[in-house]
C-alpha cells in the first residue's frame, strides 16, 4: 500500500513539474504563475502522500503552512505581474 502511495506521489510531482515547461515558455507572467500555482497544489498533495507512506511526524502542519505561503506568493505575484494594463500599474509616490 505504501508503495502505491509513493508511486502516486511521484506521478503527481512529475506531472505538475512537467507543467513548469509553462514557466520556460511563458509567454506572459500569468502563464508562469499558473504553472507555479499548480506545482504548489501538487506539491502539497505529494507531500501528504509521502508523509503518509514514510510516517514523518507533523507533516500536516507543514502542509498547512505551505498552503498559506503558496497563496501569499501568488498574491504578491499577481500584484506585481505585468498584465499589460497601464492603468493598474501604479505610479509610486516617492
Amino acid at each position: 500500500m505504501n508503495d502505491v502511495l509513493l508511486v502516486a506521489a511521484g506521478f503527481i510531482l512529475l506531472t505538475v513539474a512537467a507543467g513548469l515547461i509553462r514557466v520556460l515558455r511563458g509567454p506572459g507572467d500569468f502563464d508562469r504563475m499558473m504553472a507555479v500555482q499548480l506545482l504548489g497544489t501538487g506539491g502539497i498533495a505529494s507531500l501528504l502522500l509521502i508523509a503518509s507512506a514514510t510516517t514523518v511526524a507533523g507533516v500536516e502542519d507543514v502542509a498547512l503552512g505551505l498552503a498559506l505561503l503558496a497563496a501569499f506568493a501568488s498574491i504578491a505575484f499577481v500584484n506585481s505581474a505585468n498584465a499589460g494594463d497601464p492603468k493598474s500599474s501604479e505610479a509610486e509616490d516617492g
Binding site: 501528504l48 502542509a63 498547512l64
Partner: protein, 97 residues
C-alpha cells in the same frame, strides 16, 4: 472492511492523480491564458480534494482528518481569489487591445 477502505483510498488517489495530469495537459496544450486558467482551477480543486479524500481513512484520529480537510479548504480560498484576479487582469488587457 480494511480492504474496502484500501480500495476507496486507491480509487480516490488515482482519480486525484488523473485530475493533476489533466490539469497539466490543459496548462501545456490549451491555446490561451484564459483556457489554461480553466484547466488549472479544476486540477487545483479536484486533484488535491480527491487525494485528501483518499488519505482520510489512513489518518489516525478525527483531529488529523479535520486537519487534512482544513489543508484542502485553505488551498481553495486563495486559489479561487487568484484565479479571479488573473482572469480580471487578462480580460482588462483583452479590452485594452
Amino acid at each position: 472492511m480494511s480492504l474496502a477502505l484500501d480500495l476507496f483510498t486507491l480509487a480516490a488517489i488515482g482519480a486525484g492523480a488523473f485530475f493533476f495530469f489533466a490539469g497539466t495537459v490543459g496548462l501545456l496544450r490549451f491555446p490561451d491564458s484564459l483556457t489554461r486558467l480553466h484547466a488549472l482551477t479544476k486540477a487545483d480543486n479536484l486533484g488535491l480534494g480527491l487525494v485528501v479524500l483518499g488519505l482520510l481513512p489512513r489518518s489516525g484520529s478525527l483531529l488529523d482528518a479535520l486537519r487534512l480537510i482544513a489543508i484542502w479548504a485553505l488551498v481553495q480560498l486563495p486559489g479561487a481569489a487568484t484565479a479571479q484576479l488573473i482572469g480580471r487582469a487578462l480580460s482588462r488587457r483583452r479590452a485594452a487591445e
